[in-house]
């Protein structure tokens, strides 16, 4: 009867995604200031990743996409290696 395991908090999700896309999809390290540019860069790389893994291409961080990001894998980028 332990309380259900809380899903990763939003910032956890976000940092998992930023790390993954930075290392494997060439997401440029951006400071927090240019938020607009940052989120569009994020959305573009998310689409690339969703395309690669034949997920629904939404540019949004949905559960299926996050699941793939958590899978153990090779550290060589999938694009722009």
């Amino acid at each position: 009867y332990t309380s259900p395991i809380a899903p990763p908090a939003d910032e956890d999700r976000e940092s998992i995604a930023v790390n993954y896309l930075t290392q494997l999809y060439g997401l440029p390290n951006q400071s927090n200031s240019d938020t607009e540019k940052r989120s569009s860069g994020m959305s573009l790389r998310l689409k690339e990743m969703q395309q690669f893994f034949r997920l629904k291409v939404t540019g949004k961080l949905d559960e299926e996409t996050l699941d793939v990001m958590k899978k153990p894998r090779c550290g060589v980028p999938d694009v722009a290696a």
Partner: protein
Amino acid sequence: YSTFQGDYKWKKHDLTYRIENYTPDMSVAEVDDSIKRALQLWADVTPLRFTRLYRGTADIMISFGVGDHQDGYPFDGPNGLLAHAFPPFEGIGGDAHFDDDEKFFYRSPQGYNLFLVAAHEFGHSLGLEHSRDPGALMYPTYIHRDVDTFVLPKDDVDGIQSLYGPNPDETGPRPTPPVTPNKCDPKLVLDAVTMLRGEIMFFKDSFFWRSSPHRGTVEQHLITGFWPEIPGHIDAAFESPLEDKVFIIKGEKVWALYGYEMAQGYPKSLSMFRLPRKVQKVDAVLYDETSYKILFFVNKQIYSYNEEQRRLEKGYPKPVEVVFPGMKGKVTAAFQYQGFNYLFSGSKMFEFGAYNKLRRVLNNNYFLPC
């Protein structure tokens, strides 16, 4: 498959490798053997030959490290990134690094099999990038496979031979490189189809497609990537809403899934459904939710098992054509969806409505859009 942009391939076929250090997870001999077999996988299908060096600089320098290991691409602790390698070029080119925060194994299915991870990384060392084929060794995510029976998939063979050509010393027949089934193949014949808590699962060879009608997505996966215990080329599968289990049948063995988990206490025998002893293989199974009856297709006959009463129905077996008029061919897969019964025969799917009246004959990828 894909290869690195630009001319990233070795200009020579005789390459050297050196194991610079070892992981404490395995014995030296196990690491040596895993590395040697992983390189041999690529040598078997190309003119490439690998010689081990014990000192100095080799083309492929192999090492274990953790975190920031001074190549500008730090590892990330347990799980996540397992290893990486550099495409063929001078200096660090060809080198393979393994994250020693991972638990590498020689044989056991848990943890990460060093032979499989190394074989993938050496694909990079030779000039391959990641493949989008979910059955390929060069697919980015780690998938455990039976290393005793592992054969380099065709996608990987095609990729490496696009760089170096075939093995000129080919001696005698080799095991056929497995091809990942293509849902656009008009001749696709499915092994089994079942519902699983609202998703539709299509099985073919060592793979399954997972179709989520409400999400509108179709994913393809290796069966072993989800359930290492379940073999490829299964005969039949069906979901029992009563038990909230999916049963998977191959030969006389029956496995059960509880959601995406393996149910305990399986495999059991086909006799759990009281089928006559002479039935040693079924072709398809259809679960009828309206009557809790399980229809077993055996050649051109049907046996009906009443799940509530846990016994075979009287008056069976019956010819398939008596139960499903118009179903002439051998049924290879079957499932019920939104009240309709779908029987697969060859590359066609027969849709039966109320009173098992044949409504339509469709292509079998009707639910698997190309």
